[in-house]
Amino acid sequence: MKIQTEAGERHVLAVTVDNESGILAKITGMFSARGYNIESLTVADISADHAVSRITIVTSGPPAVIDQIIAQLDRLVPVHSVTDLTDQGAHVEREIALVKVAGTGDKRIEALRMADVFRAKVVDTTLTSFIFEITGSSDKVDRFVALMRECGLVEVGRTGVVAIARGAEAV
C-alpha cells in the first residue's frame, strides 16, 4: 500500500493576532497537527500599543485545504483576522536576505558585479569577505543565492516573506 499526497498551489496569508505568549506555538502547532505546510512564516508586533502582531504565512495546498487552513486559523481564540492575499489579487511580497560570501581574486570581483546587477547592497566587508543585503521577491532572492553559491557563499539568513495588498484599503 502507498500513502498518497495531493499537490497544491502557493498562498500568502496575512494573520493578525493578539500579541501574547504562546501564540506562535498555537499557530504553528495547528499547522503541524493538521498536516498543513508552512513554507515561510514571519511575525512582528505592528500596533502602537504592542497588542497586535501580524503574521505572514506562505503555505501551499489544494483549494479546499487552503480554505480549511483559513477557517482553522480564524477559529483560534487569539486570532483577529485572516486574509488570503493570493486570493485577493494584487499584493506586494518582499523578503530580505543577508548573504555572506568569502573569497579573493576573480570570485570576489564576480560576486560584487552580480550583487550590483541584483541591486544587493554591501553591508559589511573584510579583505576576504562580503555581506550582501538583498530585498525582493522570494524568487529573486533564490536566484541571487543560487548564483552566490558559485562565488564562495558561506552563510545565508533570510527573513521569510512579508506581504501586503496593493491599494488604499487595510486588511
Binding site: A25, K26, A71, D74, R75, V77, P78
Partner: protein
Amino acid sequence: MTEMSGADMVVQALVDLGVDTVFGYPGGAVLPIYDALFNHPQIKHILVRHEQAATHAAEGYARATGKPGVVLVTSGPGATNAVTGITDALLDSIPMVVLTGQVPTNLIGTDAFQECDTVGITRHCTKHNYLVMDPDRLGPVIHEAFFIATHGRPGPVVVDIPKNVQVATGSYTVPERIEHKSYRPQIEPDADPIAKAIALIAAAERPVFYSGGGVINAGPDASAALRQLVALTGAPITSTLMGLGAFPSDDPKWLGMLGMHGTYEANMAMNRADLIIAVGARFDDRVTGRLDAFAPEAKKIHIDIDRSSINKIVPVDIAIVGDAGRALDALIAAWQDRGHQARDLGEWWRRIDGWRATRCLDFPEKTEASAEIMPQRAIKALFDATRGRDPIITTEVGQHQMWAAQHFGFSAPNRWLTSGGLGTMGYGFPAAVGAQIAKPDRLVVCVAGEASLQMNIQEMGTVSQYRLPVKIFILNNEYMGMVRQWQELTYESRYSNSYSDSLPDFVKLADAYGWTGLRIDTLGELEDGIRTMIDTPGPVIVDCRVAKLANCFPMIPSGAAHTDMILQPSDVIGTMDDEAKALV
C-alpha cells in the same frame, strides 16, 4: 475592586459565575485554593480518586445540565492526568474550565518539583488556555475563560495558576462586559443562506435531516425547534451518536442512528436522498463511510456554529454558520412566512419503509430461561424497565456503547452521555458520577463494558463517599468486544490481547466499597436483576454476563460505502485488504 489573595479571587470568581460544583484532587500547587474552598458555603468540591475522572465527571455534569463543568487539579501529574478528559471535551464540544496549579513563577522553567509545561501540553487539546502570572489578572481571566468555554462552539479552557499567584494579594475585578477582545463566534445565521435553504427544503423529493451534538449543545429549545421543523416538512430524520435524544426515538419520522453502526434505513436514506440537512453535525468519518460514495445524489445544507466544520470533509451547497437553535428558528420562520406546505413525500417514505423491513437491529436469540443473554436483549430490558423514569444513561466505549445507542430509545436531550469523538474508555462511569451530582434525584445508569470500567473503577470510592445512587450495568462479555470484533473481521479471528483475563469478582468488589453487587447469568434472571438494581437504594453494580462472541451489527466496515453494510454475521468475510486495514 476588592483586595484579596489570588486563591480567594479564584473562589470568588467561581461564586460570581454561578458555579456550584468543582471536581478535583488536591496537591502542593493548589493548596491555597483548597484552603479557600475549605467548608465553603456555596461551592461543593467533589473529591475524585484520579484526575482523569474529575474531567469526565465535569463532562457528565456539563452534558446533563448544559452548564460548564469545573475541574481543579494540581500541577505536574495532576495536570497531565487531566489531559485525556480535556481532549475528550474538545472533540465532543463540552464546555469545561480546568484550573491547574503551577509551580511558583520564579521556578517556572527550572524543572521544579511537579512542574510541567501545562499550557504547552494542553495548547492543542483546549479551545484556549492561560497562564496567569499576575494576581490582578485572575478575575478577568477566569471570567473570560468561562465565556470562551461556553460561547460559540463549546470546549475546554485551561487556566494555569502558579502557587505564588494564589498566595499574593491583588485586586479582584470583574470585567464590565464579559467578552473576548477578538473572539466573536457567529451566533445569528445570515438571512441569505436561510432563504436558499428553505427553498431547497420545500422543493426536495427525498429530504433527510441529519442532526448531531450541536443541537444538544444549543439547548433544549434547539431540540424543540428541530422537532417542529421535522414535523412541518414531514421529512425523515437520523442523528449521530452525539445527537441522540434531540429527536424522540418513538416518532415515526425517526430512522435511528446513522453511520458505522447505524441502521440500514438511516444509511440508505442518506445514500439515496436528494437533500441532506445537517444540523450541528460534522460529517465525521464514523458517519460518512467511504467519502466518494457518500450521499452521491444529495444537495447538502450544513448548519454549524464552527465555520471550519463546513466543507472540511464533505463539500456542501449551502452553509449556515450560527447556533443550531437560532438557525432552526430562522428556517421555521422562513418556512411559515412563505406559506410552504409539506410536500407529499409518500414515495420516499415507501422506499424507507422497504429498508425498514430488513429489521436490521433484530438479532438471533434463544428464549428459554436458562439461555445466555444476548447483549442487545440486556439493553432492551434495561430500556423497558426504566421507561417513564426519565433515566440518564452514560456509556463506556465499545460494543456495549453501540448496542446502547441502537437499542435504548431516547426522547429528550441531555439524557445520553457518551464519548463520541475521542472514544475514551473510562469515560462512562465518572461521567455518571458527574451527572448524578448534577441531578441527585434522577436514575443514572452507566452501561459499561468490563474492560472499560476498569479504566476508572477507582471512582467507586467517590460514589461511596458522596452516597451517590449511581448504577453500573456491565455487559460482561469477558472480551474487549469491539477489538475482538475487528480482529474477527480483519485478522481471521486472531484475538491478540483482547481477552479480559483476570477479571475481578465485581460482586465482591461492590461489597468492598460498600455498594450492592449482583450478578445476572441467564435470560431468566435478567428482568428481575434489572428491577433489583433500580429498586435498591444507593449505588449498585450489576455484573450482567452476556454472550461472549456476539458482534455488533449492522456495521459499515471502515472504508466502505453506506450501501455496503454488513447486516448479519453470515455477511462477514474475515479478511480485508491493506487499504481497508489502514483505516481506523
